[in-house]
Symmetry: C2
Subunit: 146 residues, 2 copies
DNA sequence: GCTCCCCTATGTAAGACACTTATACTCGGA
DNA sequence: TCCGAGTATAAGTGTCTTACATAGGGGAGC
């Protein structure tokens, strides 16, 4: 499937202009596990819901199916063919106990990672404010003696 | 330098037990840019401060120096040899205007990523609560007719 | 035919791990 | 006092794995 091209991580789009994508490695995994924890589903439907959960363009089906198969091999999800008569055959996936445990671990790690991002952004914003203060002070000085 | 071994992303450490590390791709880059925005520094010292900012074990020096050189090639940082007399030679880096612009882009993207994590964790916690409710209801039923 | 769904194959970038080179200080013993 | 071993600082290079992007193939239903 053709997907809007996105930079893997970051790229320059002009002088002083950058496009950045702060990707979390394997972020699709906890997202899929969460969706399956909310209820069994099949590949295509998962892709739809993943889109909103990941907040990026369409997910790549190739990667999604490979992920699902890998998860099944590890016993983290289980699958069966759907009995629904009309339409193409669907393989329906559901979460196993092991999969739920992995989701728990992911949630803990993502919580920690969120804290690191919050810290970094706080320091970044503090810097911006300090810079704004200096700039306005300089402007005041300039106004005082023209 | 030897570093405590960490799983790249996740690994099973027992039945139903997992170690997960939610890594952000190239997270070292915005961290280095932020540190240099706070003031010029050199490789080895950056490594010390990165540790606390990244919240992981020691950073890999090899990768750090490679990153710094790559950033310099792109004009995002500039370097010079330090004049300090004693001790080994130090290459001191400072941020350029382009580098500051890239840091801005990173901050925006990290803010968006934080939102995605918050969303996912909120849904995860909602699920946990629902599960707890069902469990306690079942326990009540069991207590009602023993 | 076309689109929906599932699966396979392959290339690549980030980074984990391992190793090298060089300077300077510190402490112990000859 | 000089000599060397050991340690801390500093800046690299080499190589392999892993996670993922990307592209292609094929069957079922409209």
């Amino acid at each position: 499937m053709r997907v809007d091209r996105q930079p893997r991580c970051r790229c320059r789009v002009g002088p002083g202009r950058f496009e950045v994508r702060a990707r979390i490695e394997r972020f699709a995994e906890p997202a899929v596990l969460l969706l399956l924890a909310e209820g069994p589903s099949h590949g295509y439907r998962l892709a739809d819901h993943l889109e909103e959960l990941l907040g990026e363009g369409r997910v790549d089906f190739g990667n999604l199916y490979r992920l699902l198969r890998a998860l099944e091999e590890e016993g983290l999800v289980a699958s069966r063919w759907s009995e629904e008569a009309p339409g193409p055959q669907k393989r329906v996936y559901e979460l196993t106990g092991e999969g739920a445990a992995l989701l728990d671990a992911w949630a803990a790690s993502l919580g920690a990672r969120r804290e690191r991002i919050v810290d970094l952004l706080a320091r970044y914003e503090a810097l911006e404010e300090a810079l704004a203060d200096v700039t306005s002070e300089l402007a005041d000085l300039g106004a005082a003696r023209p």
